[in-house]
């Protein structure tokens, strides 16, 4: 008998010790948030600063469980190996509880195995690679701490097809296109989606597809080949050094309209980087982007941002700055409900987060997540842990996955599609007749 009692006592003591230990490691020294991403790119800095503002606000409101939230950053230099080292540093040297990522695709893919190993709740604000969502579907248990707070790249193709049908085909009367895409996984994926859907859905025929190397500096042969196809317009897919291709489009005064995906043109700095020689193009953009009318809550975030960081680039947050800001808010709300950043409990609560930002009484932006198993009707597939996007008019069920923005020749910008968010008109450059 006494033996049994001692055993029970021992077990109880262990339990207390374990609880005390976990409690101490999780709360006693406050919560630590790690940032992983490039500290020299505009997008990386946007995410870093967006999160910083959110953390400042949370701390001003008393922190988390009465303790101030700590924020540490680790630079990836957009280098895959450095990304892995950075993740390890955050996880094992800094022992952070939550990681906010402003990494690009291959860097995120680099540290994902580490995330699975350490099981640290992680929120990506920039990487939009659908392959990662596929990994979540295939290995839910291993990947469930991962969330992607930006619409995956499959969603944008769909929006583009609608834009093609409504504006390019119906309004401009164009029925043929030549696709120009960079030789990257991103370029290939978007091209696959767009060219499959364009003809059947919008009635625009793809006459030719030209693939170019990302190191290309002289685009004149490529543009000439594109013009020679006789297509009505050029559809560009570029995520690497996109300033180069669009500025050459302007310099060479290519006599065809060009639209598509141009990642560089998503930020205000595009104009400065191209020295004003990048007008006349339009691009698909995640929201909120340049030229995007903001709801009051996001506007307030921007005001804080420009007051704090307005004199160093990026002077205006890129889309992932917003994603990081709201993402941090959500992550902590989830942590509050889950009692911390437990790798099993936190994802459950994170999935329940849903911030609906309204403008003039309409749903304008939404930060929520697709649930596991929830099927998006238009594409007929699931997007677990991806931001809840809405690609079907009237866009009242989520954030628009993307919008199309226009850079005018005078450097002004506007959203031109979808109509709900439009602030300007689609335009072709002056040298196109």
């Amino acid at each position: 008998m006494p033996n049994k009692i001692t055993k029970k006592l021992k077990r109880f003591a262990c339990l207390i010790a374990v609880t005390a230990f976990t409690a101490s490691s999780a709360y006693a020294d406050g919560v630590k948030v790690g940032f992983i991403g490039s500290l020299s790119s505009d997008a990386g800095l946007s995410a870093l600063r967006g999160a910083q503002i959110a953390i400042d606000e949370l701390n001003a409101a008393g922190g988390f469980n009465g303790e101030p939230i700590e924020y540490v950053k680790a630079d990836t230099r957009e280098d895959v190996t450095e990304g892995i080292k950075a993740y390890e540093y955050l996880a094992e040297s800094e022992e952070v509880d939550f990681i906010l990522s402003g990494s690009i695709d291959d860097v995120s893919l680099g540290w994902l195995p580490r995330m699975k190993e350490f099981r640290i709740p992680t929120l990506d604000t920039w990487t939009s690679y659908i392959g990662i969502i596929d990994m979540v579907i295939e290995d839910y248990e291993g990947m469930k701490t991962y969330f992607m707070n930006v619409a995956s790249d499959e969603a944008l193709a769909t929006l583009y097809v609608d834009f093609g049908r409504d504006i390019l085909a119906k309004k401009m009367g164009w029925d043929s296109v030549v696709i120009l895409h960079e030789d990257t996984a991103f370029g290939g994926a978007i091209n696959g989606l767009v060219s499959e859907l364009l003809a059947p859905e919008s009635g625009i025929e793809v006459l030719d597809t030209i693939v170019y190397d990302t190191a290309t500096v002289d685009f004149s042969p490529i543009f000439n080949r594109a013009v020679d196809t006789g297509a009505d317009f050029i559809y560009l897919i570029s995520s690497v050094n996109s300033q180069v291709v669009s500025s050459q489009y302007t310099k060479l005064q290519v006599p065809k309209a060009m639209t598509g995906v141009n990642v560089a043109a998503l930020g205000q700095e595009y104009w400065e980087d191209t020295g004003g020689e990048g007008g006349g193009i339009s691009t698909l953009s995640p929201v909120p982007s340049v030229g995007f009318a903001l709801d009051p809550a996001s506007q307030e975030f921007v005001n804080t941002y420009t007051a704090k960081y307005g004199d160093s680039r990026p002077r205006f947050p890129h889309f992932n700055g917003f994603n990081a800001y709201w993402g941090i808010k959500q992550a902590f709300a989830a942590a509050k409900d889950a009692g911390g950043f437990d790798p099993d409990a936190w994802p459950q609560e994170m999935l329940k987060q849903d911030i609906k930002l309204e403008k003039d009484g309409e749903i304008w932006l939404r930060y929520g997540f697709w649930q596991p198993g929830e099927v998006e009707e238009r594409t007929g597939r699931t997007y677990p842990h991806n931001i809840k996007f809405d690609i079907t008019p009237p866009y009242d069920n989520g954030a628009p996955s993307m919008v199309v923005i226009q850079w005018y020749e005078n450097g002004e910008t506007a959203v031109i599609y979808p109509p709900k968010y439009a602030t300007g008109e689609f335009a072709v450059p002056s040298w196109v007749k």
Binding site: D75, E92, K116, M135, D183
Partner: protein, 318 residues
């Protein structure tokens, strides 16, 4: 066995013992850093066997490491081959494939050789993206490659065992006539040829040894990282750390590249909390430049010189 050899063996034993006990004393984060240092040391030793000894500077080592890493990654990730099989195959591919590529280059001298090997790295970068992206994963690479073991401590022991095995084997190999012949090539190739040895055969053997280690290191490296992408390997910064590790530690030695790798890796990590941004690389590069300018023979020589000086000061006093 001669006395100096006994002394060195003792030093090796002490070194191994210290390193084996290390996980008891340092944090997991530090162990992670040392794991990278271990892999870097392997690459630097591989580079040194060829370039440090013979004076034929190779700028193409990422190419060799890349072959090893990609072969094993593709075999295990795409074809579900067990690691026990994919790693030896990768090493074999690197040794044979690398030799086939480099063979013509070995006929070139000095800087020409350097230049051609640099071109190999660029070539590989392009090829990986263009040829069969369904296998290589193209620009995004592959993620979720099988890892050999998990956790900082296990991986530390694994990488250290690999590194120290390679280091000791190379140490023994370099003490043979083969090793001295290689160093002789570095000093004066003409005279080696004059003494009736085939320098081409020697260089080829050095290259194959180098490629073997690079392939082995590359294959284990990719199964440690768990992911691979062309930008992580075929990059001037990666090349920079390999070469600078070997040289800053001390070329044509075994301890040199090991020490250099540890120095560079720890320097970079130590700067992280103070300078999280790109300033870190500026300082890190500048320190490497200054150290290298100050002592091109390497840090090991610097330490030994200082010890000698101290010893002479002490002995002159007593």
């Amino acid at each position: 066995m001669t006395n100096p050899t006994k002394k060195y063996l003792l030093l090796w034993a002490i070194f191994i013992a210290v390193m084996l006990l290390l996980p008891e004393f340092v944090s997991k984060g530090t162990l992670r850093t040392i794991i990278f240092a271990n892999f870097l040391a392997i690459f630097a030793i591989s580079w040194d066997v060829l370039s440090g000894r013979t004076g034929y500077i190779s700028f193409g080592h990422p190419f060799l490491i890349g072959i090893g890493a990609y072969t094993s990654a593709i075999l295990s990730y795409r074809f579900d081959m067990p690691i026990e099989l994919s790693i030896p195959l990768a090493v074999l591919t690197t040794t044979i494939g690398g030799t086939l590529f480099f063979l013509p280059a070995l006929r070139l001298k000095g800087s020409y050789f350097a230049l051609v090997t640099l071109a190999f790295m660029e070539l590989m970068y392009q090829l990986v993206q263009v040829i069969r992206p369904d296998l290589t994963g193209g620009t995004r690479g592959m993620s979720g490659i099988e890892t050999i073991t998990r956790g900082a401590v296990n991986n530390y022991y694994l990488s250290f065992a690999l590194m120290v095995t390679i280091a000791i084997s190379m140490w023994l190999l370099m003490r043979t006539r083969f090793g001295s012949a290689l160093s002789a090539i570095g000093m004066n190739e003409e005279s080696v040829r004059g003494s009736g040895l085939s320098t081409t055969k020697l260089k080829l053997a050095a290259f194959m040894t180098s490629a073997f280690i690079a392939g082995l290191g590359g294959a284990f490296y990719v199964h440690y990282l768990g992911s691979i992408a062309p930008r992580a390997l075929f990059d001037i910064n990666f090349l920079f750390t390999i070469i600078v590790s070997a040289l800053i530690g001390g070329a044509a030695t075994i301890i040199g590249p090991m020490f250099g790798a540890l120095f560079l890796t720890i320097l970079l990590e130590a700067l992280r909390p103070i300078l999280p941004g790109v300033e870190r690389y500026l300082i890190y590069g500048s320190i490497a430049l200054i150290v290298y300018m100050f002592k091109p023979q390497g840090l090991v020589v610097l330490v030994l010189d200082t010890l000698d000086k101290l010893r002479s000061i002490i002995s002159s006093r007593s």
